[in-house]
Symmetry: C2
Subunit: 452 residues, 2 copies
């Protein structure tokens, strides 16, 4: 069946399905899930609790069951697999690719993991043990061991024989990797070339030696940018000796890119866990409170700080009117500056300008922006009239200084964070924003105190 | 050559290359670019001006030249192709896939476009004309016309004959699409299956009818989520009659996902154009000013608003101390709320809770957060002492109200934006933040005016 729209189910169907579950109406469940894509069943299962989901899964063939468990979010899976016995897990994991099997084993409690590992098919077990050595954020942790290799000395017919042997284990493959007698990667033969070549031809005469590979220790985000840059669907992974040890497919990298974007959004908006609207009220509160409290601490410091200038405020009440203007502008300038740096770090150019070149440019842009904004505010204040003209000039001077300071901090912070291995997007988050707010306030009140 | 690290060049090489360019040292240029991947040469070209880049490209074979021009950023390409004559463009575009050719033609001035179209290879021309009908943000605008199709009535050997004919035109293909006599899509045959099947077998006996396709009018972001959900490397595109009209490959979708993330970052940080650090100072200033001015307008409105309460401020100066605390908290709560909604919109669940269910939950979380924060602030104020206890109670009441209001606005705004076809991430940007700031200020001063 060619499906031209994604499977989308109504609330009515969900309710009917729940009823079937309550009544243990296996016929209804099986009939309605027959022929449905595993990814759609996964989406359905998020509607039910772990016991119910397990009941549904047990009615399906083990291949579909395995696919669905791979599809689940890591968090959901950890909770869900608690309902499973080790022997049930073994049966499912035996149907997975080595990379998915390793991911799931990594999530299990150590005792269960050992029990499951011992029960796995021998080939898969040794592959998984090899993969478990790698951190999940490097190429070695992303790769799968399933691939088809051919010796450079073989003929095309030997290649095809090897494909026949491997075809059950390797789900997505578009090329045969060519290695020498020491398993050193030499190149690849695309499947279409195999199809069109005479079967007695030697591999060494048709393989393509132009091939991009990555080393096991390359970071996942860098694997993603290599695959993006060179438009690759799969990339072979080699160890330090250049020996072929696995391959990474683009679907894993798409997940890396999506997670990167989500993490960035969370850092920018001050949410400390990976939460969604449908999480529990407690979890949502817990994810939001820490950063809110940091903002509150900043706010309480402001209270103390402004308190110092109570004398000035009592003398000229209008000083208070401009606090929001100064703070909002400082905040906006800071976030813009950080964001531009984050953008550049995500798309590295060819030759770097160097820190000083960067800062000089930021400074010029800040002076331009600051001057224009200060002028606009001065003109508007004059027009709208009110208190003393002298205060207006001081406000514009302070605004100019705040724009300069916020630009510099906004630019330097993500660079420093990046240098020390933190995500630079953190610089647009509430912690740095709070510091910027305090700084803006400091500049404003000091300027006033000194000049007025 | 198997490359295990990406091509990374030093400043020294860039300078040496510049010198070779100045001296028109063709031998140096050609020798140093020989065997280098097109994507790496593209990165190098960003270092030089249009005339210099064209000089380098003209020294390369036309296939590499075509690949590099496809690789360029759209902005850079528009500027760069101005140095080309129509006949030079025709030669290059004739080497491109139909989707890339259509993208480039879309960027040319209409007169040049018509001239180039007229000169293109006949098959490519009709493919491109078909593609130019589609908006670039829908499946039809992403797809390429190059694909290999087989009639369901054919044998495997006929299939392979067709592949042989098409192999020069279709660069990445992993499956043959199977259609009926009216070109209606029926399913696919993966290449590995073709390799392993006897050549007299009929296509109808081996094709896989389980196939996800998308319609021409599906939005690009939805194409991306379908491909992500079902882990697809390619997806066939059908028209409303179910006829096969093209296919989309994952590399185009990776670009869509990356651009989405960039757009979101820009909306969240108030940058109005797609700028990077290495853009001109004028462009950087222009991209940042509009949103800064919106913030300034909000700030000037605050000035007027606080002015109304000058009497209260003169009576109790300490009111001013709490302005930053109230505003920062309102801002943080609003951005967190929007971000959680944006997250949920990006990963749609199975059955929606409905607007009222959502709002109820947001309300409960807001009451919890607001209550806790108000309590913390009250306790801190009491401890740090100073002015009247009555003011502290009023501040905490206002803070609680601001958290409730900011949560509601932060939740409703992205939902409304999404409903009317805007990017919901706009809700975390400076425009909405400015409105939130004003609202927070309003709640604070009104509470004080009413109670104190």
């Amino acid at each position: 069946m060619v499906e031209s729209v994604a499977f989308g189910l109504t609330k009515e169907f969900r309710d009917r399905f729940q009823q079937a579950l309550d009544e243990r109406d296996n016929t209804f469940i099986q009939q309605n899930l027959d022929g449905i894509n595993a990814a759609d069943i996964t989406a359905l299962l998020y509607e039910f609790n772990s016991e119910e989901s397990k009941y549904v899964l047990d009615l399906l063939v083990v291949e579909i069951r395995a696919e669905i468990i791979t599809d689940l979010d890591s968090d959901a899976r950890v909770a869900f697999l608690k309902t499973y016995q080790p022997d049930e897990l073994i049966k499912i994991i035996d149907h997975l690719d080595s990379d998915d099997a390793a991911d799931i084993l990594n999530e299990l409690p150590i005792k269960v993991r050992e029990e499951v590992l011992a029960g796995l098919d021998k080939v898969l077990r040794s592959q998984v043990i090899d993969l478990l050595r790698y951190d999940e954020n490097v190429a070695g942790g992303l790769m799968a061991k399933e691939l088809v290799t051919a010796r450079v000395s073989w003929t095309v017919v030997q290649c095809i024989e090897e494909i026949r042997k491997q075809v059950e284990n390797v789900s997505k493959f578009y090329a045969v990797y060519v290695v020498d007698d020491f398993n050193k990667l030499l190149g690849k033969v695309p499947l279409q070339k195999l199809i069109l070549t005479d079967s007695t031809t030697l591999v060494k005469d048709i393989y393509d030696p132009e091939l991009i590979s990555v080393q096991t220790h390359l970071e996942d985000t860098e694997v993603a940018s290599v695959m993006r840059k060179y438009d690759l669907e799969t990339v072979p992974v080699v160890n330090v000796y250049g020996q072929l040890v696995g391959r990474i497919t683009i679907d894993d990298v798409v997940d890396v890119i999506t997670e990167q974007a989500e993490e960035e959004r969370q850092l920018m908006s001050g949410i400390s866990e990976d939460v969604e609207e449908d999480d529990s009220i407690w979890r949502l509160t817990r994810a939001r409170l820490p950063w809110l409290i940091i903002g509150i601490v900043g706010g309480l410091l402001s209270v103390q700080f402004i308190g110092i200038f109570e004398g000035d405020l009592m003398r000229i009440t209008a000083i208070a009117f401009f606090i929001p203007l100064i703070q909002a502008t400082g905040g906006n300038v800071g976030i813009q500056s950080s964001s531009i740096v984050v953008q550049s770090l995500a798309n590295p150019g060819f030759v770097e300008d160097g820190l000083w070149g960067r800062l000089t440019k930021v400074f010029i842009v800040a002076i331009l922006n600051g001057f224009l904004l200060a002028l606009i505010v001065l003109a508007a204040n004059m027009l709208l009239g009110g208190e003393s003209n002298k205060l207006f000039v001081v406000v514009s001077i302070a605004l100019f200084a705040v724009v300069l300071a916020a630009s510099l901090i906004g630019t330097v912070t993500p660079l420093v964070l990046n240098k020390f291995g933190f995500n630079p997007a953190l610089a647009s988050g509430p912690f740095i924003t709070t510091i910027n707010d305090l700084l803006g306030l400091g500049i404003y009140f000091l300027t006033i105190h000194l000049i007025l």
